[in-house]
C-alpha cells in the first residue's frame, strides 16, 4: 500500500560480512513464516531517526538534513530481497517547541491504519546526559496512542554511539547508565508494572549513522567496542519480531478509540433522560410550593 515495494538495491552496498549476517537473520525469519516485517521508528526530533533508516536500508531513502526537520509526515520505505520484505516507517519528530507533538502522532496513527507493527524502534541519542520531563511525556504519548503492549515490541536505539564519554567514565558505564535512565523513563511513562516491564525486557542497541563512523577490519561500521552495529541492530530487530508477543495491529478501533469525546457516548441519551427527569422533578416541586404557599409575591 502506498509506497512501492522495490528491490533492495542498497543491500549490495553493505560489506560482505554484514550481508551474510543479514541474510542469515532474514532466513531465520522466513523459517518462522514471516515474509515481511514492519518496523516503526519513533523518537524526538533530531535524534537521528531518518539517518538510522538510511543506514538500515543502505541507501539515502529518506532525506536528512542536520538543521531542519525534513519529514513532516510518516514515510514508509519498503524493500524486498529474495522474497522477504522489510517495511520501515520513518516518522516526524515527536517534539515540537517544547511540547509533545500530538498532531504528528495522530498523523502517524492514521498512516498506520490496517498495518501491523512488528517492531518499534524508539530512537534517542546516547550522548545526552539528562532525561527530562519531555522524554517522559513522549513515552506517555506513545503509550496512549498504541497501548502499552507496544513496549513489548520495542527496541531502544541509541544513536551517536561513537562518542567518548565525559571524564572518568568508561564507555560501557556511560552507555549502560544512559540506557538505564531511558528505560526507567519508559517504564514510568508507560505505567507498566515492574514485573511486566522486566518481562518485556526492552533491548538496547547502539547505532552510529555518521559517515565518519569508524570501521572494523571487515569494513563494517563499528562501535567503539568493536562490534559492527548494523548486523547487531538487525539481529535485535528480528529477535523482537519473533518474540512470543503479538505484533501490534493498528486497526480502526485503535485509531478511533482514543478520541476522548467518543468515550461513553452511549451514556448521552441516558444523561439527557436523567436531566429531563430532574428538571421535571424540580418543576413539580416548584408548583407544589406555589400551591402550598398560596400566591407568589
Amino acid at each position: 500500500m502506498g509506497s512501492l515495494v522495490r528491490e533492495w538495491v542498497g543491500f549490495q552496498q553493505f560489506p560482505a560480512a554484514t550481508q551474510e549476517k543479514l541474510i542469515e537473520f532474514f532466513g531465520k525469519l522466513k523459517q518462522k513464516d514471516m515474509n515481511s516485517m514492519t518496523v516503526l521508528v519513533l523518537g524526538k526530533g533530531g535524534v537521528g531517526k531518518s539517518s538510522t533508516v538510511n543506514s538500515l536500508i543502505g541507501e539515502q531513502v529518506v532525506r536528512v538534513s542536520p538543521f531542519q526537520a525534513e519529514g513532516l509526515r510518516p514515510v514508509m520505505v519498503s524493500r524486498t530481497m529474495g522474497g522477504f520484505t522489510i517495511n520501515i516507517i520513518d516518522t516526524p519528530g515527536l517534539v515540537e517547541a517544547g511540547y509533545v507533538n500530538h498532531q504528528a502522532l495522530e498523523l502517524i496513527k492514521g498512516f498506520l491504519v490496517n498495518r501491523t507493527i512488528d517492531v518499534l524502534l524508539y530512537v534517542d541519542r546516547l550522548d545526552v546526559y539528562r532525561v527530562d520531563e519531555l522524554d517522559k511525556q513522549v513515552v506517555i504519548a506513545i503509550t496512549q496512542t498504541f497501548g502499552k503492549e507496544i513496549w513489548c515490541k520495542t527496541l531502544l536505539v541509541l544513536t551517536h554511539a561513537q562518542f567518548s564519554p565525559p571524564d572518568e567514565l568508561s564507555y560501557e558505564t556511560f552507555s549502560s547508565k544512559r540506557s538505564d535512565s531511558l528505560l526507567k523513563t519508559i517504564r514510568a511513562g508507560s505505567k507498566m508494572r515492574k514485573q511486566e516491564f522486566e518481562d518485556s525486557a526492552i533491548a538496547v542497541v547502539y547505532a552510529e549513522n555518521s559517515g565518519r563512523c569508524s570501521k572494523n577490519d571487515k569494513d563494517e561500521k563499528a562501535l567503539p567496542n568493536g562490534e559492527a552495529w548494523i548486523p547487531n541492530l538487525v539481529k535485535a530487530i528480528t529477535d523482537v519480531a519473533t518474540n512470543q508477543r503479538k505484533a501490534i495491529h493498528v486497526d480502526k478501533k485503535m485509531v478511533d478509540g482514543s478520541y476522548s469525546d467518543d468515550k461513553g457516548k452511549k451514556l448521552i441519551p441516558l444523561i439527557i433522560g436523567a436531566q429531563y427527569l430532574i428538571v421535571k422533578m424540580i418543576q413539580g416541586a416548584i408548583r407544589n410550593d406555589i400551591k402550598t404557599s398560596g400566591k407568589p409575591l
Partner: protein, 1205 residues
C-alpha cells in the same frame, strides 16, 4: 528554503574547479550572510551587524582531528569557504517581493572553494551573492605584527586623504598584505562597489615542489570570468612539510569617473605567485567608472586554515540614505557601498563609506553603517528600504563574473554633491551612481541595513556583532540624530579631551587584557573592540577623526610597557553568569575556565542544585563566575524554570553579572524551535535586555559534524555556523529584537580534547577556545565601560539629545487635542445639551405638536387577542402601534424640552431674588433624591455567551455627590467579568456660575495600570462665548502625561459654532504645545458637520492634523434609528502623511432589525469593512446551529470516508 528562510547555497558544479582540485575531503565553509530588515522606514536607524570570523590555526597542530576522531575523512584543510546568503524572507516582506532581488541585497561575499558535496537538490546554479568584502585571513604567528600594523595605517591615511580631497570620488584603495610566516595563504579581496563585485581568487596549493597555479599571470578578462566564478580559495597544507609561504598582495584601485554614459573598463588582474619564494601576489586592478571601491584585503596565514572573514553591513535607513559598508579583511578599511535608486529604477547610486578603523591590524573589521539623512547628497526617498545594494549582480547567473563585466561597462556618474556632505571629514564618502546595464534584472536597491552574517564558523568572534548592541546602549540608536546633534555642538569639542583620555585608558586596559590572554592586537575581537572605541571617539568629537591610529600606537606601547613591568595591577574584573539547559555543561565549563574543579559535575544528575558563584584568577585577571542550575526545555517545566531563574535573579541582585553566557550543545540539533520556551522564560524573568550582553557558548565543540543531506560529511565550520545561526535566531525571537546578534564562542570541556603545547584545549578548527571566550566577555565589559563613559556625556544637561529621550508621540497628543469635548455645564443645564443644537428645529416642530392628540382613540390588544388576528391584521396592528409609539415619544420629548425651558427661565428669575429663596428651591429639588436608585443597566455588546451578564454591572445612583462607577472593558482580557477599573466623578459649582467637573479613572489589567484624571471648568462670558480650562493627567506608555488645555467657544450663530483651543503637555521630560481650531456647522436638522484642525509642536518637531466629521441622521432623531456618519482624519508628522477615513451607517430594516455597516480605510491601504445585522425576529437563523450537529451525526453513518485511501 522553507517558508521563511531562503538559503542560497552554492553548489559547485563548476567543472573546472571540480576537476582541478576538489577532492572529497575538502570542506566547505559557508558563510551565512543574513540581512535583516530595518523595521522602521521612517527612522534613520542604522543597524550594523557585521560578522567577522577568524580562524586561527596554529601550525603546530595540523593533525588535530585525526587524533580525536581517528578518521581519515576529516577535512584536512578548512580553507574552503563558501558564503551563503541567507535571507530571511520575512524580513524583506515589505521591500522586496522577489527573492532573487533580496538575495542580491546583501552583498554576500562568496568564495567558495571547493565543495565536496552539492547542496540543495544538486542544482548547478548558484545564486550568489554579491560580494561585498571578503577577507581571508589567517593569523600570522606572533611575529611581525607591528610592521604590518604600521603599514596598514599608512594605507588608511592615504585612502582617507584620497577620498576627502577628491570630491569626484576617486578612491584608491590599497591593500596591503604583509605576511611573514604564512604557510599558505590565500587571499581574497573583494572590493565592492555596489553593483560590482570583485572577487579575487587565489588558489594556492602547495605541493612538494611548488604551487600549481593555473592562472598565474595576467589574466585576461575572459578568463577571469571563469576563474572567478567559483571563487575559491583552497589551501591545502600538507603535513610534514616545511611551511610554505605565500604572500599575496592584492591591490585594488578604483577610480570613479565622473560623467554619465562613459564607461571605463579596465580590468586588470595580475596574479603572481611565487611559491618557491613563498610569495604570491595577486593584483587586481579594477577600474570602473562608476564605482568606487575601497578594498583592502589582507590575508595572512600561518596555519593550515585560513580565516575567512566577511562582514557586510547593510544599512537601511528610511529610503534616503544607506550606506552599506563592506569590509575587507584589512582591518583598517571598510568600504561601504550604499545604493540608491534614482529616478529610474535602474540607476543606482552608490555611496560607499569608508571608515577608518582605528585598529591597525589586518583583521577584518566590522562594518559600520551610518545613515546620514542629513547629508545633502542623499535626498531621494524613492527606494524601498529593503532592497539590496549589490543588486543582482552576482546573483542569478552561474557566472558572476560576467556580470561584473557588464557592470563595469555600465555607465557611471558620480554625484559630486555627495562628497561634500558634512560627514566627509569623519567618514569619507563617495557617492557614485551607477546605472547598470539592462541585463541585470534588478538594479540594486538599497541594502537594508543589516548585514549580518555569520562569520565563518569557528571564529565566531564576530566582532561586528557588537555593533548593534553598542549603538543601542548608547542610546543613539539613530545615528542620525546623534550626528545632527554633533553638528550643532561642534564648539564643545574641547570637552571631549577628557573623555578621550579616559577612552585611551580603557583601550590600554583592554590591550593588556588581550595580552594576558595571549591575543595579539590582530585578533578579530581585539581589533573590533579597538575599532569601536576609535569610532566612538570619532563620533564624539569631530576633530578626533584621526586620533584612531595615533592613540592605538600610544595605547599599545603603554600596554606593553605596563605588562612588561608587571606592576601596576590591572583594574579589571569580570562577572560572568552562566545559563543554559540542564546537562549542557555549565559547571564543566566553569571548571574549564579556571582549570580546576570548582564545581562537581555529574553526567546523569542535575549537578548544580542552586545558584552559586566562584571567584578566581585567570591569567591574573579577576573573574567571577555564577553557576546556575540547569533549565528544562519543555513547556511543562517552565514553571520550574521560572523558579530557578527567580532565585538566580535574587542572587544577582547585589552583584549583577557583566556578561551572560548562554550555553547550549553544539551537537544537539535543536530544531523545531525546541528551546523557545526556555528562551522566552529567560526573557520574561530578566527582561529581554539580558540578551544584549549575552554570549552564546556552544559546548561539546569537538563533536563531529553530522552528515550532510546525501550522506557525505559536512564541514565543521559550516556546522558551527549553522548551529550558531539557529541559536542566534532563536534568541532574536525570544528577545523580540531582530537586530540582536550574539557573539558565539565554542567550548569543549572534554578531557580528551586535543591540547596544544601550552596545554590549552584546541578545537577541531584550531581555535583555542578559552582565551577566546574570555576575550569576548572582557570585550563586552570593556565596551560597556566605554559606553558608560560616553553615555555620561550624553546626559550633560541642556543637550537635546539626551540618552533615551524620545520624541513625544505628537500624533497621539494631537488627536487627543482635536477631540471635541463638551464643556462642563451647570447642573441645571446638564440635560440641556441637545437643546442648544436643536434650537433651530424648534420652530418646525411646533406644527406637529398636537399630532398625537389628534389621533383617534386606540385600544391596545392583549396577547390572547393578538393571537386571534390574521397575519395581515397583525401587521397592520403592529404598524399602527409603532406609529403611535413614535408620536408619543416625540410628544414626550417636546414636553420635556418645554419643561426645561420653563425651568431655565424660572431659574433665571430666581437668581434675581434673594439668595435664601433659591437655596430653598435647591433643597427641595435635592430632597427626594436621597434614596439610592439603581442605575439603568449597561448595554453590553452582543456576544455568543449563553447568559447575559448585565446584572453583574448594576450599581446604584446614590445621593452622594460623587458618582462612582465601575469601568467596564467589554473587550478586556476577561470577557466574563469585565471590570477593569473604577471611575469616579463629581461636579462642583463654584460661585454658582462656574461648573468644575472632576473625574478620575483607574484601570488595571494584567499588563499595566492606567490612570486618567480630568478636571475641567468653564466660564461663560459675554454673549454666546464660553471658555473652558482643563487639566488632564493620563498614562501614556510608561509615563504620565500632564496636559493643560483651554478652549473658547463662540456660539454666536445659530448654524455655525466655532472654537479655538490651546494645550500644553508635559510628557516625560519634554513639553509639547498645541493649537487647534474647530468649527461646527449645523446645516439642518439632519445634517451637521464638524471640522477641526490643529498643530502640535515639541522640540522643533511639528505634527499637523485635521479631522472632519459629518453626520446625517434621521429626520426625527433620536426616534428614527437611521444614522450615517462620515469621518476623515489627516495627520502629517515628519513628512509622513497619514490619512484615514471611516464611514458608518445604521439603517433600520423593518421593525426589529438593524443593519450597521462600517468601513474604514487609510492611505496605507489598510482598511476594514464590517456589516452587522441585528434582528430580534428571525429566530430561524438559530437553526444554523443545527448544521454542525448534522455533520457530526452524518459522520457516524459514513465514517469510512474519512480514512479513504
Amino acid at each position: 528554503g522553507d517558508g521563511t528562510e531562503f538559503v542560497v547555497r552554492s553548489d559547485r558544479e563548476d567543472k573546472k574547479l571540480a576537476e582541478d582540485r576538489i577532492s572529497d575531503e575538502q570542506v566547505v565553509k559557508n558563510e551565512l550572510v543574513r540581512s535583516d530588515e530595518v523595521r522602521d522606514d521612517n527612522e534613520d536607524e542604522v543597524f550594523e551587524e557585521a560578522i567577522g570570523s577568524e580562524n586561527d590555526e596554529q601550525e603546530e597542530e595540523e593533525d588535530p582531528k585525526r587524533e580525536l576522531f581517528e578518521s581519515d575523512d576529516l577535512p584536512l584543510v578548512e580553507t574552503l569557504k563558501s558564503s551563503m546568503v541567507e535571507h530571511e524572507v520575512e524580513d524583506f516582506e515589505e521591500a522586496v517581493g522577489d527573492l532573487d532581488e533580496t538575495s542580491s541585497n546583501e552583498g554576500g561575499v562568496k568564495d567558495f572553494t571547493a565543495v565536496g558535496e552539492s547542496h540543495g537538490a544538486g542544482e548547478a546554479e548558484f545564486d550568489v551573492l554579491a560580494t561585498k568584502m571578503n577577507g581571508d585571513k589567517g593569523e600570522g604567528g606572533g611575529g611581525g605584527s607591528y610592521d604590518k600594523v604600521e603599514s596598514s595605517l599608512d594605507v588608511v591615511d592615504t585612502t582617507e586623504n584620497a577620498t576627502s580631497t577628491n570630491t569626484n570620488g576617486s578612491n584608491l584603495a590599497a591593500e596591503h598584505v604583509g605576511i611573514e610566516n604564512g604557510k599558505t595563504h590565500s587571499f581574497l579581496g573583494n572590493g565592492i562597489a555596489s553593483p560590482k563585485n570583485k572577487e579575487v581568487v587565489a588558489e594556492v596549493i602547495p605541493k612538494d615542489d611548488g604551487i600549481e597555479e593555473p592562472w598565474n599571470d595576467g589574466i585576461e578578462v575572459d578568463n577571469w570570468e571563469e576563474r572567478v566564478d567559483g571563487i575559491q580559495t583552497e589551501q591545502e597544507v600538507e603535513e610534514g612539510e616545511g611551511t610554505t609561504e605565500n604572500q599575496f598582495e592584492k591591490r585594488t584601485e578604483e577610480e570613479v569617473v565622473e560623467g554619465e554614459g562613459t564607461s571605463k573598463n579596465l580590468f586588470e588582474k595580475q596574479t603572481e605567485q611565487d611559491v618557491v619564494e613563498g610569495e604570491g601576489t595577486s593584483k587586481d586592478l579594477f577600474e570602473n567608472g562608476s564605482v568606487c571601491m575601497d578594498s583592502e584585503s589582507e590575508a595572512e596565514r600561518n596555519g593550515e586554515t585560513g580565516a575567512a572573514y566577511t562582514s557586510n553591513i547593510v544599512t537601511n535607513a528610511s529610503g534616503d540614505n544607506e550606506v552599506s559598508s563592506a569590509v575587507t579583511s584589512s582591518p583598517l578599511e571598510e568600504s561601504s557601498s550604499g545604493e540608491k535608486g534614482e529616478t529610474e529604477g535602474d540607476s543606482t547610486c552608490l555611496k560607499p563609506e569608508q571608515h577608518l578603523a582605528s585598529s591597525p591590524h589586518s583583521y577584518p573589521e566590522s562594518t559600520e553603517v551610518h545613515s546620514n539623512s542629513g547629508s545633502p547628497g542623499v535626498t531621494s526617498r524613492e527606494h524601498k528600504p529593503v532592497q539590496s545594494a549589490n543588486g543582482g549582480h552576482d546573483v542569478q547567473s552561474p557566472q558572476p563574473n560576467k556580470e561584473l563585466e557588464k557592470q563595469q561597462s555600465s555607465r557611471v556618474h558620480v554625484d559630486p554633491e555627495i562628497t561634500e556632505n558634512s560627514h566627509v571629514e569623519t567618514e569619507p564618502e563617495v557617492v557614485s551612481s551607477v546605472s547598470p546595464t539592462e541585463s541585470r534584472s534588478n538594479p540594486a536597491a538599497l541594502p537594508p541595513a543589516r548585514p549580518a552574517g555569520l562569520g565563518r564558523a569557528s571564529p565566531l568572534l564576530e566582532p561586528a556583532s557588537r555593533a548593534p548592541q553598542q549603538s543601542r546602549v548608547n542610546g543613539n540608536g539613530s545615528h542620525n540624530q546623534f550626528q545632527q546633534a554633533e553638528d550643532s555642538t561642534t564648539t564643545e569639542a574641547d570637552e571631549h579631551d577628557e573623555t578621550r583620555e579616559k577612552l585611551q585608558l580603557i583601550r590600554v586596559k583592554f590591550l593588556r587584557l588581550a595580552h594576558r590572554l595571549g591575543q595579539t592586537p590582530h585578533n578579530v575581537v581585539v581589533a573590533q573592540v579597538l575599532y569601536r572605541l576609535g569610532l566612538a571617539e570619532q563620533l564624539r568629537g569631530r576633530n578626533g577623526s584621526r586620533v584612531g591610529a595615533f592613540s592605538f600606537d600610544r595605547a599599545s606601547a603603554m600596554a606593553e610597557q605596563l605588562e612588561a613591568a608587571g606592576q601596576d595591577p590591572l583594574d579589571f574584573s569580570c562577572t560572568i553568569m552562566v545559563l543554559g539547559k540542564s546537562g549542557v555543561g555549565k559547571s564543566a565549563t566553569i571548571n574549564s575556565i579556571f582549570d580546576e574543579v570548582k564545581f562537581c559535575t555529574d553526567a546523569f544528575q542535575m549537578g548544580t542544585k542552586r545558584v552559586q558563584d566562584v571567584e578566581g584568577l585567570v591569567q591574573g585577571i579577576k573573574v567571577r563566575v555564577i553557576d546556575t542550575p540547569g533549565l528544562l526545555p519543555s513547556w511543562s517545566d517552565q514553571a520550574k524554570n521560572e523558579k530557578i531563574l527567580n532565585s538566580v535573579k535574587a542572587f544577582i541582585k547585589k552583584n549583577p553579572p557583566d556578561i551572560v553566557l548562554y550555553l547550549d550543545r553544539l551537537d544537539m540539533q535543536s530544531r523545531d524551535s525546541g528551546d523557545m520556551p526556555l528562551l522566552r522564560t529567560i526573557s520574561d524573568v530578566f527582561g529581554p535586555s539580558i540578551w544584549f550582553n549575552a554570549i552564546v557558548g556552544l559546548t561539546h565543540a569537538a563533536s563531529v559534524p553530522p552528515d550532510g543531506p546525501n550522506g557525505t560529511a559536512s564541514s565543521y565550520d559550516m556546522f558551527v555556523t549553522q548551529r550558531s545561526h539557529v541559536i542566534q535566531q532563536a534568541i532574536r525571537q525570544a528577545a523580540g529584537d531582530m537586530r540582536l546578534m550574539n557573539p558565539v564562542s565554542l567550548v569543549e570541556n572534554h578531557s580528551a580534547c586535543r591540547t596544544n603545547r601550552a596545554g590549552q584545549r584546541v578545537l577541531p578548527n584550531g581555535q583555542v577556545w578559552k582565551p577566546h571566550l574570555l576575550l569576548l566577555s572582557f570585550a563586552s565589559k570593556i565596551l560597556a565601560e566605554a559606553n558608560a563613559l560616553l553615555k555620561l556625556q550624553d546626559n550633560i544637561p541642556g543637550r537635546p539629545f539626551a540618552a533615551r529621550s524620545k520624541a513625544p508621540p505628537l500624533p497621539f497628543l494631537l488627536s487627543s487635542l482635536l477631540q471635541s469635548r463638551p464643556q462642563p455645564k451647570l447642573p441645571e443645564q446638564q440635560y440641556g445639551d441637545e437643546e442648544d443644537e436643536d434650537d433651530l428645529e424648534e420652530s418646525s416642530d411646533s406644527d406637529e405638536e398636537s399630532e398625537y392628540d389628534q389621533l383617534p382613540p386606540f385600544k391596545s390588544l392583549t396577547k390572547a387577542q393578538m393571537a386571534t388576528l390574521s397575519k395581515s391584521q397583525k401587521k397592520q396592528y403592529l404598524d399602527e402601534m409603532e406609529y403611535r409609539e413614535k408620536l408619543l415619544m416625540k410628544k414626550q420629548m417636546k414636553e420635556e424640552r418645554k419643561r426645561r425651558k420653563m425651568f431655565k427661565k424660572f431659574a433665571a428669575e430666581i437668581k434675581d431674588l434673594p439668595d435664601g429663596y433659591s437655596e430653598n428651591v435647591e433643597e427641595e429639588s435635592g430632597g427626594p433624591a436621597s434614596v439610592p436608585v439603581p442605575m439603568p443597566d449597561l448595554s453590553l455588546p452582543a456576544s455568543f455567551d449563553s447568559d447575559n451578564p448585565t446584572h453583574r454591572y448594576r450599581y446604584l445612583d446614590s445621593s452622594n455627590q460623587w458618582l462612582v462607577r465601575p469601568v467596564l472593558e467589554t473587550h478586556g482580557w476577561d470577557h466574563d467579568i469585565g471590570y477593569e477599573g473604577v471611575n469616579a466623578e463629581r461636579l462642583f459649582v463654584v460661585k454658582e456660575k462656574i461648573p468644575i467637573s472632576v473625574s478620575g479613572q483607574v484601570t488595571k489589567d494584567k499588563k499595566d495600570a492606567n490612570v486618567q484624571l480630568e478636571m475641567a471648568s468653564s466660564v461663560k462670558h459675554g454673549e454666546g462665548k464660553s471658555t473652558s480650562l482643563g487639566f488632564d493627567m493620563q498614562t501614556v506608555g510608561k509615563e504620565l502625561a500632564y496636559t493643560l488645555r483651554s478652549e473658547t467657544r463662540f456660539n454666536n450663530f445659530r448654524r455655525n459654532k466655532a472654537a479655538a483651543g490651546l494645550s500644553v503637555t508635559h510628557l516625560g521630560d519634554s513639553v509639547s504645545a498645541g493649537l487647534k481650531v474647530e468649527d461646527k456647522f449645523i446645516a439642518s436638522k439632519w445634517f451637521r458637520i464638524v471640522m477641526s484642525g490643529g498643530a502640535m509642536t515639541s522640540r522643533g518637531d511639528f505634527a499637523y492634523g485635521g479631522t472632519l466629521e459629518a453626520q446625517l441622521r434621521d429626520k426625527d432623531y433620536p426616534l428614527g434609528r437611521f444614522l450615517t456618519t462620515l469621518g476623515l482624519s489627516v495627520m502629517d508628522w515628519h513628512g509622513d502623511l497619514a490619512i484615514g477615513g471611516n464611514i458608518q451607517s445604521q439603517v433600520p430594516i423593518g421593525r426589529s432589525s438593524n443593519l450597521i455597516a462600517r468601513a474604514n480605510l487609510n492611505n496605507r491601504g489598510a482598511g476594514q469593512v464590517s456589516v452587522r445585522v441585528n434582528s430580534s425576529e428571525q429566530l430561524q437563523l438559530a437553526m444554523v446551529a443545527i448544521v454542525p450537529l448534522f455533520k457530526k451525526l452524518l459522520s457516524y453513518y459514513y465514517p469510512q470516508t474519512q480514512y479513504g485511501q
